[in-house]
């Protein structure tokens, strides 16, 4: 893989989308979308159904190829890479439905996700050394599951399973974490804790959270991007977008 380092200052760090368009059968899922997420930034993306939130995630992770536009991460052109290469570049995606391994413990789930040789023989000979153990323990502390370390993940609550899944993504050392509707189906208390967790994760990595729940977005306290009909309608602090008349009209005012 050849790194395409670009001289253009804006597009060499963080996530950089410029003029991205995706058309499905004449329907413009993304329409000239531009978005920049700085390294270490936490960004919330909101918008009504069909605004293009999921398509945006698909474009960044390589699942969908844009018809036009620039998609870069750390200066690398993502439109030329496949899903696995993008994942290896350090972009992790958390889907809505948590899929953790129920028959394994919290610790074992994280151990499987840890970066290590992946072949059968390597796994047979794998011995958990201090450094790896420390990493797993640190992640468990981060996602608040230290006390459940040796419980089967099948016994966790819905919210805890979501956190474990985020933890499994963290084990893979992502530079950018895309999180799709993390709090759907969570209790209020779990929603609060998830917000804290995501705020804590950002800082060393960029995090993009797609969400419907405005209370949750407020709790994140981050910059908010509002999507509408495939492009950015408004961007700024939560108070800024809440007072933006265009946002009120298409989204909040209903």
């Amino acid at each position: 893989m050849n790194a395409v380092a670009l001289p253009d200052g804006d597009s060499t760090t963080g996530l950089y989308l410029d003029g991205v368009s995706v058309v499905f059968d004449g329907f413009r899922a993304l329409n000239n979308l531009s978005l920049i997420v700085e390294p270490g930034e936490l960004r919330a993306v909101i918008g009504p159904n069909g605004a293009g939130k999921t398509t945006m995630m698909d474009v960044i992770t390589g699942k969908t190829r844009p018809g036009a536009g620039i998609v870069r991460f750390g200066g690398r052109d993502l439109t030329r890479m496949d899903e696995a290469a993008i994942a290896n570049l350090g972009i992790g995606r958390k889907f809505q439905k948590p899929t953790v391994f129920d028959a394994l413990t919290v610790f074992e789930n994280l151990e499987l996700a840890l970066k290590a040789p992946r072949g059968p023989i390597a796994c047979l000979r794998w011995v958990l050394r201090g450094e790896a153990r420390t990493r797993i323990e640190r992640t468990m502390a981060e996602i608040g599951l230290t006390e459940r370390a040796h419980d089967l993940s099948g016994l966790l609550s819905h919210g805890q399973r979501q956190w474990l899944e985020i933890g499994m993504l963290l084990m893979q050392d992502p530079q950018l974490l895309l999180v799709d509707e993390p709090v759907a189906g969570m209790t209020d208390h779990e929603t609060e804790q998830t917000a804290e967790l995501l705020v804590g994760i950002a800082g060393t990595r960029s995090v993009v959270v797609v969400e419907h729940d405005l209370e949750f977005v407020k709790a994140l306290g981050s910059r908010v991007t509002v999507l509408h009909e495939g492009s950015v309608l408004s961007e700024g602090s939560i108070t800024h977008v809440q007072n933006d008349p265009r946002v009120i009209e298409v989204y909040l005012g209903r």
Binding site: D102, R118, C123, L124
Partner: protein, 353 residues
């Protein structure tokens, strides 16, 4: 956990005593009949086969309905060695060719029989041939992401195809008669009680070794990867694991263990024929594992012993009933005992104060 270990140790000790009790004079109250020793020796081989199947199915979710084929291939490999050892003692008295070859008009040994006069070679083949076949079939199936019932059907077809092939006389494996009339193994006459005891102990030692090895394997990270593949294969792939390689590895290993079981079985029963490839045998093995409790090694062994004890008893009191009972077990176990006997025992243990 310690009581569990004690029970297992006691079980092995009781089994180990049987050939010794067999040596006691017949009028002694503790005397054990030849029949019992040889039938338990068979069950031990079945238990090894059950462990092999459980490793693939119970842990990695690969439901093979053709494991009997790997067992039979292992048996045929050792059977070829036993045939070569008959030498000029056959009915036709040919110095090299086994009786069936003389009868079919062979003038010289087919090339694929070369080397089988050495025990080590034959024993190695009993492991390599099943492993190779599993490797080829598994590679093609797993690479194409064939899973679940489709894989089961393919493996079932495999054993059926092999049965038809081995029935043919011109395959050079004795056609529908297979191999029998064995005389000796490693210089020991096969019809002596002494040899029977040695074969029994070899099987028992293999069972213990396979049991411990499988246990060790399932406790490694590789074992956990297999469990993860069983429960959510695509998720494992997203984590960056090449699941094809992982499944292939366990499938080949499992086939080799099945081959070992077959190699231990044939000298004890004194015969191998294409009937061993019959699809019913493979399905019976699945019933053992399901009945005992898949995904637990103890369950697989327990299932092999208990279902075969039932079979032996039923086929002597009411021979016609056995297939009906087997069919009922096949249906009833997943419905009533999804975790098998082991699940039942564990539940009992938990409800006790």
């Amino acid at each position: 956990m310690n009581t569990r270990r004690l029970i297992l140790l006691g079980f092995v000790a009781v089994l180990a005593l049987l050939p010794l009790l067999n040596l006691l004079p017949e009028e002694h109250p503790l005397h054990v009949s030849d029949f019992l020793v040889s039938i338990i020796g068979k069950w031990i081989c079945y238990a090894i086969l059950a462990l092999a199947l459980d490793l693939a199915w119970g842990y990695a979710g690969i439901l093979s309905l053709g494991h009997g084929a790997f067992f039979a291939l292992g048996g045929y490999a050792i059977g070829m060695h036993l045939m070569r050892l008959i030498g000029p003692r056959g009915v036709y008295g040919h110095p090299v060719l086994p009786d069936f070859m003389v009868f079919l008009g062979y003038t010289e040994l087919p090339w694929y029989w070369l080397g089988f006069d050495w025990f080590i070679f034959a024993f190695a083949m009993a492991l390599i041939v099943p492993g190779l076949l599993a490797g080829i079939v598994g590679y093609l199936a797993f690479r194409s992401r064939i899973t679940g019932v489709y894989l089961s059907i393919i493996t079932q077809a495999l054993t059926y195809a092999l049965m038809l092939a081995f029935f043919r006389n011109d395959m050079g494996f004795g056609g529908n008669n297979g191999f029998t009339d064995f005389k000796e193994l490693l210089g020991m006459p096969l019809n002596s009680g002494h040899t029977r005891a040695i074969l029994f102990y070899a099987s028992l030692a293999s069972l213990v070794a396979v049991f411990l090895a499988c246990g060790a394997l399932t406790r490694t990270k590789y074992g956990r990867v297999l469990t993860a593949i069983r429960d959510a294969e695509s998720r494992v792939r997203f984590l960056g694991y090449d699941t094809t390689r992982h499944k292939l590895f366990v499938f080949v290993l499992s086939a080799m263990i099945a081959g070992l079981a077959g190699a231990l079985y044939v000298p004890q029963v004194g015969i191998i024929n294409p009937g061993e490839f019959s699809p019913g045998n493979s399905i019976e093995a699945v019933v053992w594992v399901a009945f005992g409790g898949r995904g637990t090694l103890v369950g697989a062994v327990l299932g092999a012993f208990s279902v075969n004890a039932l079979k032996t008893w039923l086929t002597s009191v009411a021979p016609d009933l056995w297939l009906i009972v087997l069919g009922c077990l096949f249906i009833a176990v997943p419905l009533l005992l999804p975790k098998g006997l082991i699940g039942l025992i564990r539940r009992r243990g938990e409800t006790k104060p």
